[in-house]
Protein backbone atom coordinates (compact mmCIF):
# COMPACT_ATOMS: atom_id res chain seq x y z
CA UNK A 1 0.00 0.00 0.00
CA UNK A 2 1.37 3.43 -0.94
CA UNK A 3 0.80 6.16 1.60
CA UNK A 4 1.89 9.78 1.59
CA UNK A 5 4.42 10.98 4.16
CA UNK A 6 2.09 12.01 6.97
CA UNK A 7 -0.11 8.95 6.63
CA UNK A 8 2.92 6.67 6.55
CA UNK A 9 4.36 8.31 9.66
CA UNK A 10 1.01 7.97 11.45
CA UNK A 11 0.77 4.31 10.39
CA UNK A 12 4.26 3.54 11.71
CA UNK A 13 3.62 5.44 14.92
CA UNK A 14 0.39 3.50 15.54
CA UNK A 15 2.16 0.23 14.77
CA UNK A 16 5.04 1.10 17.10
CA UNK A 17 2.68 2.08 19.92
CA UNK A 18 0.68 -1.13 19.59
CA UNK A 19 3.82 -3.27 19.47
CA UNK A 20 5.71 -1.59 22.32
CA UNK A 21 2.62 -1.67 24.51
CA UNK A 22 2.47 -5.45 24.25
CA UNK A 23 6.09 -6.45 24.37
CA UNK A 24 9.25 -5.11 25.93
CA UNK A 25 11.45 -2.63 24.12
CA UNK A 26 14.31 -5.09 23.68
CA UNK A 27 12.11 -7.80 22.22
CA UNK A 28 10.90 -5.63 19.36
CA UNK A 29 13.14 -5.31 16.28
CA UNK A 30 13.09 -2.75 13.47
CA UNK A 31 13.04 -5.67 10.97
CA UNK A 32 9.83 -6.96 12.47
CA UNK A 33 8.18 -3.53 12.48
CA UNK A 34 9.11 -2.92 8.83
CA UNK A 35 7.76 -6.36 7.89
CA UNK A 36 4.48 -5.70 9.74
CA UNK A 37 4.13 -2.33 7.99
CA UNK A 38 4.90 -3.93 4.63
CA UNK A 39 7.77 -1.55 3.91
CA UNK A 40 11.56 -1.76 3.73
CA UNK A 41 13.78 -1.15 6.76
CA UNK A 42 15.27 1.77 4.82
CA UNK A 43 11.89 3.47 4.46
CA UNK A 44 11.13 2.96 8.16
CA UNK A 45 14.47 4.56 9.05
CA UNK A 46 13.50 7.50 6.85
CA UNK A 47 10.64 8.29 9.26
CA UNK A 48 12.27 7.13 12.50
CA UNK A 49 16.09 7.05 12.34
CA UNK A 50 16.34 4.61 15.28
CA UNK A 51 14.09 2.19 17.18
CA UNK A 52 14.40 4.52 20.15
CA UNK A 53 13.06 7.46 18.10
CA UNK A 54 9.95 5.46 17.25
CA UNK A 55 9.60 4.39 20.87
CA UNK A 56 9.94 7.95 22.21
CA UNK A 57 7.50 9.35 19.63
CA UNK A 58 4.97 6.67 20.64
CA UNK A 59 5.56 7.34 24.32
CA UNK A 60 4.97 11.05 23.78
CA UNK A 61 1.66 10.36 22.00
CA UNK A 62 0.59 7.95 24.75
CA UNK A 63 1.53 10.43 27.49
CA UNK A 64 -0.45 13.21 25.76
CA UNK A 65 -3.44 10.90 25.51
CA UNK A 66 -3.18 9.94 29.19
CA UNK A 67 -2.99 13.56 30.38
CA UNK A 68 -5.86 14.55 28.10
CA UNK A 69 -8.14 11.69 29.14
CA UNK A 70 -7.55 11.88 32.86
CA UNK A 71 -8.03 15.63 33.11
CA UNK A 72 -11.04 16.18 30.86
CA UNK A 73 -13.42 13.48 32.10
CA UNK A 74 -16.27 14.27 34.47
CA UNK A 75 -16.55 17.93 33.52
CA UNK A 76 -19.59 19.55 35.09
CA UNK A 77 -19.63 16.96 37.89
CA UNK A 78 -18.77 17.63 41.52
CA UNK A 79 -14.96 17.91 42.05
CA UNK A 80 -14.81 14.60 43.93
CA UNK A 81 -16.56 12.85 41.03
CA UNK A 82 -14.15 14.43 38.55
CA UNK A 83 -11.27 13.06 40.61
CA UNK A 84 -12.94 9.64 40.65
CA UNK A 85 -13.50 9.74 36.88
CA UNK A 86 -9.93 10.91 36.30
CA UNK A 87 -8.55 8.06 38.40
CA UNK A 88 -10.75 5.56 36.55
CA UNK A 89 -9.39 6.88 33.25
CA UNK A 90 -5.83 6.67 34.59
CA UNK A 91 -6.19 3.13 35.94
CA UNK A 92 -7.93 1.97 32.72
CA UNK A 93 -5.14 3.43 30.65
CA UNK A 94 -2.21 1.98 32.59
CA UNK A 95 -4.04 -1.32 32.97
CA UNK A 96 -4.42 -1.59 29.18
CA UNK A 97 -0.67 -1.00 28.76
CA UNK A 98 0.52 -2.63 31.96
CA UNK A 99 3.81 -4.27 30.85
CA UNK A 100 4.88 -1.13 28.98
CA UNK A 101 3.88 1.12 31.89
CA UNK A 102 5.74 -0.94 34.49
CA UNK A 103 8.86 -1.23 32.31
CA UNK A 104 8.82 2.51 31.65
CA UNK A 105 8.35 3.54 35.27
CA UNK A 106 10.84 1.06 36.63
CA UNK A 107 13.68 1.81 34.21
CA UNK A 108 13.23 -1.45 32.32
CA UNK A 109 13.47 0.33 28.96
CA UNK A 110 16.93 1.61 29.77
CA UNK A 111 15.64 5.08 30.55
CA UNK A 112 17.57 7.98 29.05
CA UNK A 113 17.19 11.75 29.52
CA UNK A 114 14.76 12.01 26.59
CA UNK A 115 12.47 9.31 27.99
CA UNK A 116 12.76 10.75 31.50
CA UNK A 117 11.75 14.14 30.10
CA UNK A 118 8.59 12.71 28.52
CA UNK A 119 7.56 11.09 31.81
CA UNK A 120 8.38 14.20 33.83
CA UNK A 121 6.58 16.39 31.29
CA UNK A 122 3.43 14.29 31.68
CA UNK A 123 3.68 14.56 35.48
CA UNK A 124 4.14 18.32 35.28
CA UNK A 125 1.13 18.78 32.99
CA UNK A 126 -1.03 16.53 35.16
CA UNK A 127 -0.02 18.49 38.24
CA UNK A 128 -0.64 21.81 36.49
CA UNK A 129 -4.12 20.75 35.41
CA UNK A 130 -4.98 19.37 38.84
CA UNK A 131 -3.75 22.59 40.45
CA UNK A 132 -5.69 24.68 38.00
CA UNK A 133 -8.85 22.60 38.51
CA UNK A 134 -8.35 22.94 42.27
CA UNK A 135 -7.83 26.69 41.92
CA UNK A 136 -11.24 26.90 40.27
CA UNK A 137 -12.93 25.27 43.27
CA UNK A 138 -13.83 27.29 46.38
CA UNK A 139 -10.33 26.38 47.67
CA UNK A 140 -9.13 29.31 45.64
CA UNK A 141 -5.68 30.42 44.61
CA UNK A 142 -4.67 31.51 48.13
CA UNK A 143 -4.53 27.83 49.17
CA UNK A 144 -3.43 26.31 45.87
CA UNK A 145 -0.55 28.76 45.41
CA UNK A 146 1.16 27.64 48.64
CA UNK A 147 4.31 25.52 48.10
CA UNK A 148 3.08 22.80 50.49
CA UNK A 149 -0.05 22.40 48.37
CA UNK A 150 2.05 21.72 45.28
CA UNK A 151 4.36 19.39 47.24
CA UNK A 152 1.35 17.54 48.65
CA UNK A 153 -0.19 17.04 45.21
CA UNK A 154 3.17 15.94 43.79
CA UNK A 155 3.24 13.42 46.61
CA UNK A 156 -0.29 12.27 45.85
CA UNK A 157 0.64 11.81 42.18
CA UNK A 158 3.62 9.74 43.34
CA UNK A 159 1.22 7.63 45.40
CA UNK A 160 -1.03 7.15 42.36
CA UNK A 161 1.92 5.94 40.29
CA UNK A 162 3.41 3.67 42.94
CA UNK A 163 0.08 2.14 43.99
CA UNK A 164 -0.78 1.52 40.31
CA UNK A 165 2.53 -0.21 39.66
CA UNK A 166 2.10 -2.42 42.73
CA UNK A 167 -1.49 -3.26 41.78
CA UNK A 168 -0.63 -4.01 38.13
CA UNK A 169 2.32 -6.16 39.15
CA UNK A 170 0.24 -8.46 41.33
CA UNK A 171 -3.42 -7.84 40.40
CA UNK A 172 -4.49 -9.26 43.76
CA UNK A 173 -7.05 -6.56 44.54
CA UNK A 174 -10.11 -5.15 42.69
CA UNK A 175 -9.43 -1.98 40.71
CA UNK A 176 -12.22 -0.14 42.57
CA UNK A 177 -10.45 -0.64 45.90
CA UNK A 178 -7.31 0.97 44.52
CA UNK A 179 -9.32 3.85 43.07
CA UNK A 180 -11.17 4.50 46.33
CA UNK A 181 -7.92 4.31 48.28
CA UNK A 182 -6.48 7.03 46.04
CA UNK A 183 -9.62 9.18 46.32
CA UNK A 184 -9.42 8.93 50.11
CA UNK A 185 -5.72 9.77 50.01
CA UNK A 186 -6.43 12.93 48.06
CA UNK A 187 -9.03 14.00 50.61
CA UNK A 188 -6.55 13.22 53.38
CA UNK A 189 -3.86 15.20 51.57
CA UNK A 190 -6.13 18.22 51.58
CA UNK A 191 -6.87 17.76 55.27
CA UNK A 192 -3.16 17.41 56.01
CA UNK A 193 -2.39 20.80 54.51
CA UNK A 194 -5.29 22.44 56.24
CA UNK A 195 -7.65 22.76 53.28
CA UNK A 196 -11.35 22.08 53.89
CA UNK A 197 -12.37 18.89 52.06
CA UNK A 198 -15.93 20.16 51.80
CA UNK A 199 -14.91 21.96 48.58
CA UNK A 200 -14.56 18.61 46.87
CA UNK A 201 -18.01 17.26 47.70
Amino acid sequence: MRLDGDDRRAQLLALGRATFSERSYDEVSIEELARAAGISKGLLYHYFPTKRDLYVAGLRATADELVERTTTVGQGQAPIDRVRAGLDAFLDHVSAHAPAFIALMRGGVGSDPEIAAVVQGARDRLLERILSNAGATPLGASVTARPIFRIALSGWLGAVEAASIDWLTRRDCPREHVRELLVQLLLATLVAIGAPTSVLR
Copy 2:
Protein backbone atom coordinates in the same frame (compact mmCIF):
# COMPACT_ATOMS: atom_id res chain seq x y z
CA MET B 1 50.14 5.34 49.60
CA ARG B 2 50.06 1.57 49.20
CA LEU B 3 46.89 -0.13 50.35
CA ASP B 4 45.93 -3.78 50.28
CA GLY B 5 43.07 -4.87 48.01
CA ASP B 6 40.12 -4.48 50.37
CA ASP B 7 41.32 -1.14 51.69
CA ARG B 8 41.96 0.14 48.18
CA ARG B 9 38.49 -0.93 47.06
CA ALA B 10 36.91 0.76 50.09
CA GLN B 11 38.93 3.92 49.42
CA LEU B 12 37.81 4.05 45.79
CA LEU B 13 34.20 3.32 46.72
CA ALA B 14 34.19 6.14 49.28
CA LEU B 15 35.80 8.49 46.78
CA GLY B 16 33.27 7.54 44.09
CA ARG B 17 30.31 8.01 46.45
CA ALA B 18 31.53 11.43 47.56
CA THR B 19 32.17 12.53 43.99
CA PHE B 20 28.92 11.21 42.45
CA SER B 21 26.89 12.69 45.29
CA GLU B 22 28.18 16.17 44.45
CA ARG B 23 28.27 16.17 40.69
CA SER B 24 26.35 14.50 37.92
CA TYR B 25 27.38 11.13 36.55
CA ASP B 26 28.43 12.54 33.17
CA GLU B 27 30.62 15.25 34.67
CA VAL B 28 32.81 12.80 36.57
CA SER B 29 35.64 11.09 34.66
CA ILE B 30 37.66 8.01 35.53
CA GLU B 31 40.84 10.04 34.97
CA GLU B 32 39.81 12.49 37.64
CA LEU B 33 38.89 9.75 40.12
CA ALA B 34 42.23 7.99 39.58
CA ARG B 35 44.09 11.27 40.04
CA ALA B 36 42.19 12.05 43.26
CA ALA B 37 42.99 8.56 44.58
CA GLY B 38 46.64 8.93 43.61
CA ILE B 39 46.63 5.76 41.49
CA SER B 40 46.77 4.91 37.80
CA LYS B 41 43.67 4.53 35.66
CA GLY B 42 44.71 0.93 35.08
CA LEU B 43 44.66 0.15 38.81
CA LEU B 44 41.26 1.81 39.21
CA TYR B 45 39.91 -0.33 36.35
CA HIS B 46 41.24 -3.38 38.18
CA TYR B 47 38.78 -2.71 41.01
CA PHE B 48 35.95 -1.21 38.97
CA PRO B 49 36.03 -2.19 35.27
CA THR B 50 33.85 0.79 34.24
CA LYS B 51 32.74 4.12 35.65
CA ARG B 52 29.24 2.67 35.79
CA ASP B 53 30.45 -0.25 37.98
CA LEU B 54 31.86 2.21 40.49
CA TYR B 55 28.66 4.25 40.35
CA VAL B 56 26.42 1.21 40.87
CA ALA B 57 28.56 -0.11 43.74
CA GLY B 58 28.34 3.32 45.40
CA LEU B 59 24.61 3.50 44.81
CA ARG B 60 24.15 0.08 46.38
CA ALA B 61 26.10 1.13 49.49
CA THR B 62 24.12 4.37 49.74
CA ALA B 63 20.80 2.54 49.33
CA ASP B 64 21.76 0.04 52.06
CA GLU B 65 22.66 2.91 54.37
CA LEU B 66 19.37 4.69 53.65
CA VAL B 67 17.27 1.58 54.34
CA GLU B 68 19.24 0.85 57.51
CA ARG B 69 19.04 4.39 58.89
CA THR B 70 15.39 5.01 58.17
CA THR B 71 14.16 1.73 59.60
CA THR B 72 16.23 1.44 62.77
CA VAL B 73 15.80 4.90 64.29
CA GLY B 74 13.37 5.54 67.11
CA GLN B 75 13.31 1.99 68.40
CA GLY B 76 11.40 1.69 71.66
CA GLN B 77 9.40 4.82 70.86
CA ALA B 78 5.70 4.93 70.00
CA PRO B 79 5.06 3.80 66.39
CA ILE B 80 4.13 7.33 65.27
CA ASP B 81 7.43 8.65 66.64
CA ARG B 82 9.34 5.90 64.88
CA VAL B 83 7.67 6.95 61.63
CA ARG B 84 8.58 10.56 62.34
CA ALA B 85 12.19 9.66 63.13
CA GLY B 86 12.38 7.47 60.02
CA LEU B 87 11.09 10.28 57.83
CA ASP B 88 13.58 12.70 59.39
CA ALA B 89 16.39 10.27 58.62
CA PHE B 90 15.08 9.84 55.06
CA LEU B 91 14.74 13.58 54.40
CA ASP B 92 18.18 14.27 55.95
CA HIS B 93 19.74 11.63 53.76
CA VAL B 94 18.21 12.70 50.45
CA SER B 95 18.76 16.35 51.32
CA ALA B 96 22.49 15.72 51.83
CA HIS B 97 22.66 14.04 48.39
CA ALA B 98 20.01 16.08 46.64
CA PRO B 99 21.46 16.45 43.11
CA ALA B 100 22.39 12.76 42.99
CA PHE B 101 19.03 11.68 44.39
CA ILE B 102 17.03 13.78 41.91
CA ALA B 103 19.14 12.65 38.95
CA LEU B 104 18.79 9.03 40.01
CA MET B 105 15.04 9.14 40.55
CA ARG B 106 14.34 11.14 37.41
CA GLY B 107 16.44 9.05 35.01
CA GLY B 108 19.13 11.70 34.69
CA VAL B 109 21.89 9.13 35.13
CA GLY B 110 20.70 7.20 32.08
CA SER B 111 19.06 4.54 34.19
CA ASP B 112 19.67 0.95 33.16
CA PRO B 113 18.23 -2.33 34.48
CA GLU B 114 21.02 -2.69 37.07
CA ILE B 115 20.43 0.80 38.47
CA ALA B 116 16.66 0.30 38.38
CA ALA B 117 17.13 -2.94 40.32
CA VAL B 118 19.09 -1.19 43.08
CA VAL B 119 16.36 1.45 43.47
CA GLN B 120 13.57 -1.12 43.36
CA GLY B 121 15.46 -3.34 45.81
CA ALA B 122 15.70 -0.45 48.29
CA ARG B 123 11.96 0.23 47.91
CA ASP B 124 11.14 -3.44 48.45
CA ARG B 125 13.26 -3.65 51.58
CA LEU B 126 11.83 -0.43 52.98
CA LEU B 127 8.33 -1.73 52.34
CA GLU B 128 9.12 -5.09 53.90
CA ARG B 129 10.50 -3.45 57.04
CA ILE B 130 7.59 -1.05 57.32
CA LEU B 131 5.16 -3.95 56.89
CA SER B 132 7.00 -6.02 59.45
CA ASN B 133 7.12 -3.10 61.92
CA ALA B 134 3.39 -2.58 61.34
CA GLY B 135 2.73 -6.29 61.82
CA ALA B 136 4.32 -6.03 65.25
CA THR B 137 1.88 -3.28 66.27
CA PRO B 138 -1.63 -4.10 67.50
CA LEU B 139 -2.69 -3.86 63.81
CA GLY B 140 -1.51 -7.42 63.56
CA ALA B 141 -0.88 -9.63 60.57
CA SER B 142 -4.56 -9.99 59.66
CA VAL B 143 -4.61 -6.37 58.53
CA THR B 144 -1.04 -6.09 57.26
CA ALA B 145 -1.31 -9.24 55.13
CA ARG B 146 -4.15 -7.81 53.00
CA PRO B 147 -3.13 -6.82 49.47
CA ILE B 148 -4.69 -3.35 49.81
CA PHE B 149 -2.49 -2.69 52.85
CA ARG B 150 0.64 -3.42 50.81
CA ILE B 151 -0.67 -1.37 47.86
CA ALA B 152 -1.49 1.53 50.19
CA LEU B 153 1.99 1.49 51.75
CA SER B 154 3.60 1.26 48.29
CA GLY B 155 1.55 4.31 47.40
CA TRP B 156 2.65 6.11 50.55
CA LEU B 157 6.30 5.34 49.74
CA GLY B 158 5.67 6.77 46.27
CA ALA B 159 4.30 9.90 47.92
CA VAL B 160 7.39 10.15 50.13
CA GLU B 161 9.66 9.94 47.08
CA ALA B 162 7.70 12.35 44.90
CA ALA B 163 7.16 14.93 47.64
CA SER B 164 10.87 14.76 48.52
CA ILE B 165 11.90 15.32 44.92
CA ASP B 166 9.53 18.29 44.57
CA TRP B 167 10.74 19.77 47.87
CA LEU B 168 14.45 19.29 47.04
CA THR B 169 13.98 20.76 43.57
CA ARG B 170 12.54 24.03 44.86
CA ARG B 171 13.32 24.18 48.61
CA ASP B 172 10.49 26.65 49.09
CA CYS B 173 9.05 25.02 52.20
CA PRO B 174 10.51 24.07 55.63
CA ARG B 175 11.54 20.43 55.91
CA GLU B 176 9.33 19.95 58.99
CA HIS B 177 6.22 20.81 56.97
CA VAL B 178 7.07 18.12 54.43
CA ARG B 179 7.74 15.60 57.20
CA GLU B 180 4.45 16.34 58.98
CA LEU B 181 2.56 16.17 55.68
CA LEU B 182 3.97 12.67 55.13
CA VAL B 183 3.19 11.59 58.71
CA GLN B 184 -0.41 12.76 58.26
CA LEU B 185 -0.60 10.97 54.91
CA LEU B 186 0.45 7.72 56.53
CA LEU B 187 -2.24 8.08 59.18
CA ALA B 188 -4.74 8.87 56.43
CA THR B 189 -3.56 5.85 54.44
CA LEU B 190 -4.35 3.65 57.43
CA VAL B 191 -7.77 5.24 57.84
CA ALA B 192 -8.46 4.78 54.11
CA ILE B 193 -7.91 1.04 54.33
CA GLY B 194 -9.97 0.75 57.48
CA ALA B 195 -7.18 0.29 59.99
CA PRO B 196 -7.51 2.08 63.33
CA THR B 197 -4.87 4.82 63.57
CA SER B 198 -4.90 4.53 67.34
CA VAL B 199 -2.31 1.75 67.00
CA LEU B 200 0.24 4.31 65.88
CA ARG B 201 -0.15 6.72 68.78
